[in-house]
């Protein structure tokens, strides 16, 4: 059991709210008139203020209040969300983040500056004391019946009914009647329990959502009934008699006149529509628990495979039936467990709107970011680790790819650049592409630099693709000036490394003058690998299928002469090869029917000689202990259906280390 940790929960929640806030404000910049959006942002702010007041640093709640107050203007319609204002609100959001994450390092002067800016609306910015005086543009006042039936334990959870009533009063004139029927005799009264209920009749110009917000922290919202009062809104609160408030809200709706019933239905529909917008109810679970679950399911799948093998040898139809059933269930269980770890990539894309916005302001380039495929799902770990590489690629595209407005106009392109971020699933892979309509890679310059740095020979013949790949070489940056945005040429190699660590690959396509597209190919999940099971001596290995190009037989002529050279003639092309048996130190066995698994690598095609190709194998990856983790060429291990352990090869690392050891040479 995990202990309840309100501060930790608050932190997680607050981070999420800040993300929501950022996404919302960026959207608002595009669509300043979207009322639903305004409400969403307000809700996030309000929740942040409320829960921050309870669990967060005091400065956070105070500052959040200032932000909320200013935003209230937009919400009431007295102020429009101009780019300047959303800019200010975004800056305020960042400050909130700092107050949350590192309250000690937050600069009080900055707080002061932002508060002054937030308060400066050109009018008095506080919430009007008397909301009963409606502004001309506002909807007319409506009357609401609100029944508050909190659970008896509400006080123990920190609910403050008086505060709620005060908040309701702030919305407009209201009549509060306490229901005392449930109060027990003094002898039985438990002072920590809540026995009172309230019926409230409220007249307000504010929408229903404003009333709902009052009860935002009520855990069991079922006890709160909010219904529009069918009676005409009373002009004066004082004239409403207590008797009129008497009946609880819900029954009142049942005998309501048809017009009101229609209104109630309309409200109901609106409720339904809104609940569809909201994300499904969710449960927060520590990632480590999901990992443990996946581990256990992986073990179950392995045990089930052994059971299947056992059942086949028994030839008992009843047993076989049960085993097939278990096999199906285990497969489904694995599928759903994997599904638990999948998150839509949109959670990642949201962050980049801000990056692009800030960058385009900083560089004075107008850049429009469009995204597609936000719903594409990817393993959680993958999403976490993709964050930084994608930021780097986006920065690069804006900084180096997209030209300034003058150059673009001269080239006959629209003055503002466009950047397109797209994710889509293709088979067992997810493709993420970053496409800009900038100048494209300057291949002549890249080449020049690579020659100057001694990375390639001056007369080397390189394909365009090979030149493009040079941008991932450590230490090569073609930015004419070093900016603080794209860094100093460290980065692209790190990006490539990160993607490869995730068992993915990175592709570049570029057309001079038309732009560059960088595509990341990633496996759907890190936990399962599709591979080819091979035997080397007594050892079993899994070669990742993604790396494999083809399998050929090692011709007799080939291995006879192989002592001197290690090249293979595959349809006229020379392919260097590497004997895995030498790597494993199993020595030369019976060299008959050896197979060569040809894998794609940076250096071109490379053959791996194995004793036997067993077949296609999908498997759960087990990570290696610290004792074996650093061994080049090994990516992990897995357990086969007979309980034997197979090593998962990391072909990139394997070829790299073989090259480093110069035990064999590559063709020029």
């Amino acid at each position: 059991m995990t202990a309840f940790d309100p501060a930790g929960t608050f932190l997680l929640e607050a981070r999420e709210l800040l993300r929501e806030l950022e996404a919302g404000l960026l959207e608002l910049e595009q669509r300043p008139d979207d009322r639903a959006l305004v409400d969403t942002i307000f809700r996030a702010l309000h929740t942040l203020k409320g829960s921050g007041g309870m669990f967060g640093p005091p400065a956070l709640a105070t500052f959040a209040h200032e932000v909320e107050t200013r935003f209230e203007g937009i919400r009431r319609g007295s102020e429009t969300a101009t780019p300047a204002l959303t800019g200010l609100l975004l800056a305020a959001r960042d400050h909130l983040e700092q107050l949350l994450e590192a309250p000690d390092t937050a600069d009080p002067a900055e707080t002061e500056r932002l508060v002054v800016a937030l308060r400066d609306t050109g009018e008095t910015a506080c919430i009007p004391a008397a909301p009963a005086e409606p502004v001309a543009t506002e909807p007319s006042a409506r009357a609401w019946r609100i029944g508050i039936r909190l659970p008896a334990t509400a006080l123990e959870f920190g609910t403050n009914p008086l505060g709620m009533l005060d908040e309701l009063r702030a919305l407009g004139p209201c009549e509060v009647r306490a229901r005392t029927e449930a109060v027990p005799a003094l002898g039985e009264l438990d002072p920590t329990k809540l026995y009172l209920h309230w019926d409230v009749r409220l007249v307000t110009t504010r929408p229903r959502a404003a009333i709902e917000d009052v009860f935002i922290f009520v855990a069991d919202s079922g006890g709160i009934e909010i219904a529009e009062d069918t009676a005409e809104p009373a002009p004066e609160c004082a004239s409403v008699t207590v008797a009129a408030v008497g009946p609880p809200a819900a029954p009142a709706n049942h005998d309501a006149p048809p017009a009101a019933a229609k209104e109630a239905r309309r409200l109901g529909r609106r409720e339904a529509a809104r609940s569809m917008d909201r994300p499904e109810a969710s449960v927060r679970v520590a990632a480590s628990r999901l990992d443990a679950l996946l581990d256990q399911v992986g073990e179950l799948v392995i045990a089930q495979a052994r059971l299947t093998a056992l059942a086949q040898s028994r030839k008992d139809p009843v047993l076989t039936g049960v085993v097939e059933e278990i096999e199906r269930l285990a497969a489904e269980l694995r599928e759903s467990t994997m599904g638990l770890r999948m998150l839509p990539i949109g959670t990642l894309f949201g962050r980049y709107r801000r990056v692009v916005r800030d960058l385009s302001q900083e560089l004075g380039k107008a850049v429009e970011l469009t995204t597609a495929g936000e719903a594409t799902e990817l393993d959680k770990t993958m999403i976490e680790r993709l964050g930084d590489p994608l930021v780097h690629l986006i920065r690069n595209a804006v900084d180096h790819g997209i030209e300034d407005a003058a150059t673009r106009r001269a080239a006959g392109k629209p003055a503002h650049g466009s950047l397109h971020l797209e994710a889509r699933q293709a088979g067992a892979e997810v493709l993420i592409s970053i496409k800009d309509d900038g100048a494209g890679l300057n291949r002549a310059r890249i080449r020049e630099k690579a020659v100057a740095r001694g990375l390639i020979a001056a007369d080397a013949v390189l394909s365009e693709r090979a030149i493009d790949q040079l941008i991932f070489h450590p230490g090569l940056s073609t930015a004419a000036t070093i900016s603080n945005i794209s860094g100093r040429g460290v980065g692209m190699d790190v990006v490539k490394q990160t993607i490869e660590d995730l068992r993915g690959s990175i592709e570049v396509a570029s057309a001079p003058g038309a732009g560059t597209t960088i595509t990341l190919r990633l496996p759907l999940t890190l936990a399962i690998i599709d591979g080819l099971l091979v035997r080397v001596g007594a050892s079993m290995c899994v070669v990742p299928l993604a790396a494999i190009e083809e399998c050929v037989e090692l011709a007799a002529a080939e291995h006879k002469g192989s002592s001197g050279r290690s090249f293979l003639d595959v349809r006229g092309a020379l392919v260097p090869f590497l004997r895995l048996s030498e790597l494993f130190g199993v020595g030369a066995g019976a060299r008959e029917h050896e197979m060569v698994v040809i894998v794609a690598s940076e250096q071109g095609r490379v053959g791996l000689v194995v004793d036997q190709v067993v077949g296609h194998h999908q498997t759960v990856i087990k990570s290696l202990s610290p004792l074996h983790r650093g061994i080049p060429g090994l990516g992990g291990a897995t357990i086969l259906s007979d309980g034997q352990i197979a090593l998962i090869l990391d072909t990139t690392g394997l070829i790299q280390s073989a090259q480093d050891q110069a035990t064999w040479r590559l063709s020029a």
């Binding site: 087990k622 610290p626 034997q644």
Partner: protein, 167 residues
Amino acid sequence: MQHAEKSRVVGPGRAGEFLTFALDHETFAIPVEAVREVVDPLPTAQVPRAPDFAPALVNVRGNVVALIDLRRRLAMPPAPADAEARVVVSEVAIGGEPTLVGIQTDAVHGVIDVRGAVVEPLPKLGTRWRTEFIQGVVRQDRGFVIILDMARILAPDDAARRSTDRG
């Protein structure tokens, strides 16, 4: 439950109960609280380019576990095949990371309680082992019991150095 066990810090612990086992006619001991189980020798999968004291992997109830050859670490000759041989599955903090390992032994004797017994430091002279691998020596009726410091024996620095030495 498994979670709780994983997060347990395995260190020298209190001088309490120890599991004793034989290696090359000597008796060694490790804290019993770190020991998960004792199993018969398992089929191994050799790991190429691995440190010589961790040459293979074994499958312990669905877990891929590194098999530890202490003889290599303690400068002893390779073990003869023996029906008494057992693998002690134990948790060791390697570079602070709780890791399950399988320790190859010639035979497992049992559990001793050294509370109240005098744990003496290993004399600097007259031993063939690196002193940092040994926590101390306890006198028992059958002779000496050498208490091993598994965390030091499997420390990552040594592991890394070993593997590069070989490469």
